[in-house]
């Protein structure tokens, strides 16, 4: 007969295990719903052109924050000069954010040649504090009704602005997000795997959220927002590392929505090493967790969100906790095999699929990426999907460290929001010259 304490521990562990397994399954079901939704709707056009949205041409300010981006910023600004949107309604603002390289000089030369290009130089006293801070500096100088953001390594299609502005005809649309495609994909295995993640994230996740009327995410770049809305929300939040997710939630809580447009596309440069991948994902994970702490209760209480939006909002906000919970799920499974609190855990073979299912990096996201590449007509890229298991496993220590650091900073009452910048090399960019 087991001791009482051991029984209690076993029952607690069992309950914990089942809750974690339930959460895993909720995310898996979500991925399947997203994928099937996109598969069912992929041939339907997003919107029918009307006289109103064809003639709608608001003034636009494009903000490009750039901190030490000399290798890519020239190409991006050059592309801005090639945009087909009327120049008299377009303002390009490059926020040179305390750079120590030639970024400022390159931007200045373009500004000298093009009247609609302006450069803001921020010295080390005020600049270099992250993207949100730079964007807020740009917002003060922006004159357009719509604020569009591009990172310094972005390369949009020429009519990107015409495409996204059509969406703003709907007064409920506060933000429009375009699609992002990895340009340096062939460079190495890291860029190839990031490209697959992006395909799943945009071609499927974002598209499905838009189709289902859920919480579509503003990615902080390759998208536009109404200036009036942005100003009423107080601009970008400089105390959160995921300023884009924070803005997304504030937009929805204010009663507006984010629209995703798969047909408005921009290239980006993906991280090229596992070290850079760690830094970027660490920032995303920590920022997302900050947003989860800040907004989860606001989402539950909001009167502007329906039930399905609330559920999706909570799942989206807490997604970076899942790698940690997967780790806990496996860790809980081992003592449960020994303690066997109920007949349920005696049946090892019946339960084995649970940890295996979560271990194999969730088959549903793999399915999602597979369908995404299929819809893009890239069936050969599918062959790499099993390698995504390694990015999933890599995300476990990344998210765990982000969570631990966040907890420590909360306990110490000292928020460490150092912005670890992604370095862009301009390497391996097929299709376009540099």
């Amino acid at each position: 007969m087991k001791a009482g304490g051991e029984d209690l521990l076993a029952e607690v562990l069992e309950a914990f295990f089942l809750i974690l397994a339930g959460l895993m399954i909720a995310y898996l079901v979500r991925h399947y719903i997203f994928t099937i939704t996109v598969l069912k709707n992929h041939q339907k056009p997003k919107r029918v052109n009307t006289a109103e949205n064809i003639t709608f041409q608001p003034t636009i300010s494009v903000l490009i924050p750039a901190h030490n981006e000399e290798k890519v910023v020239g190409r991006t600004i050059q592309r801005m000069t090639e945009l087909t949107y009327p120049k008299d309604k377009l303002q390009i603002i490059i926020i040179e954010d305390a750079s120590t390289d030639k970024t400022g000089a390159i931007a200045d030369q373009y500004a000298a040649m093009h009247n609609h290009i302006k450069v803001i130089h921020r010295d080390r006293k005020v600049g270099g504090r992250g993207k949100a801070s730079a964007l807020n500096a740009g917002l003060k100088r922006a004159a357009g009704e719509i604020i569009v953001c591009f990172d310094a390594d972005y390369y949009p299609q020429p009519d990107f602005l015409e495409r996204i502005t059509k969406e703003f005809v709907n007064p409920k649309v506060g933000v429009v997000q375009g699609r992002i495609t990895v340009l340096n994909e062939p460079y190495n295995i890291v860029t190839r795997l990031v490209a697959l993640e992006r395909i799943g994230g945009y071609r499927i996740d974002q598209q499905a959220r838009d189709n289902l009327g859920l919480i579509t995410q503003f990615g902080g770049t390759a998208g536009g927002i109404r200036r009036s809305l942005l100003e009423s929300l107080g601009g970008w939040n400089e105390s959160i590392l995921a300023e884009d997710t924070d803005l997304t939630l504030r937009v929805y809580l204010a009663g507006y929505k984010v629209s995703y447009l798969n047909e408005a596309e921009s290239y980006e440069e993906a991280v090229e090493s596992w070290q850079a991948y760690w830094k970027q994902r660490y920032r995303w994970a920590k920022g997302h967790m900050q947003c989860a702490f800040k907004h989860s209760f606001n989402v539950i209480r909001s009167k502007n969100l329906g039930l399905k939006e609330k559920i999706d909002g909570l799942l989206m906000l807490n997604v970076y906790f899942m790698p940690i919970l997967a780790l806990l799920l496996w860790a809980t499974f081992i003592p449960l095999l020994i303690l066997k609190p109920s007949p349920l855990f005696g049946a090892v073979w019946a339960l084995l699929p649970f940890p295996l299912y979560s271990f194999v990096g969730n088959f549903a996201p793999f399915f999602e990426v597979g369908i995404g590449t299929y819809l893009d007509g890239r069936t050969r890229a599918n062959w790499l999907i099993p390698l995504l298991i390694f990015t999933f496993l890599y995300n476990i220590p990344i998210c765990t460290k982000a969570f631990a650091d966040l907890l420590i900073s909360k306990i110490l009452g000292k928020d460490d929001n150092h912005w670890e910048k992604t370095v862009h090399s301009g390497n391996g960019n097929c299709y376009i010259g540099s």
Binding site: Q78, E185, P186, Y267, R378, P386, C430, Y431
Partner: protein, 89 residues
């Protein structure tokens, strides 16, 4: 005396073998595509053919790099010239 296989160890052996086979089958195509990519590359977004010949890029080249390039070019030309008499011979 005949050896009788232990059912427990046989099951364990088959399980390990099965898992290994599963992993190999799952990863093999990925490894093939990784080492010898046949994928056509990134999706071509509309308007990609606009070749970004930067106006500024060439103007920003480092004078020192230019000097190194010039020296390399001169050395190569000198090498070719030195080879020419041999051709005639």
């Amino acid at each position: 005396m005949r050896m009788v296989p232990n059912p427990t160890s046989t099951t364990f052996f088959l399980l390990v073998l099965g898992i290994l086979a599963f992993i190999i089958i799952m990863l093999l195509p990925a490894l093939v595509e990784w080492k010898k990519p046949k994928d056509a590359g990134p999706r071509r977004i509309m308007g990609h053919m606009f070749f970004a010949q930067t106006e500024i890029g060439d103007m920003m080249t480092d004078a020192e790099e230019e000097h190194v390039f010039d020296k390399m070019l001169v050395d190569r030309i000198a090498g070719i010239i030195a080879f020419l008499p041999n051709l005639e011979a």
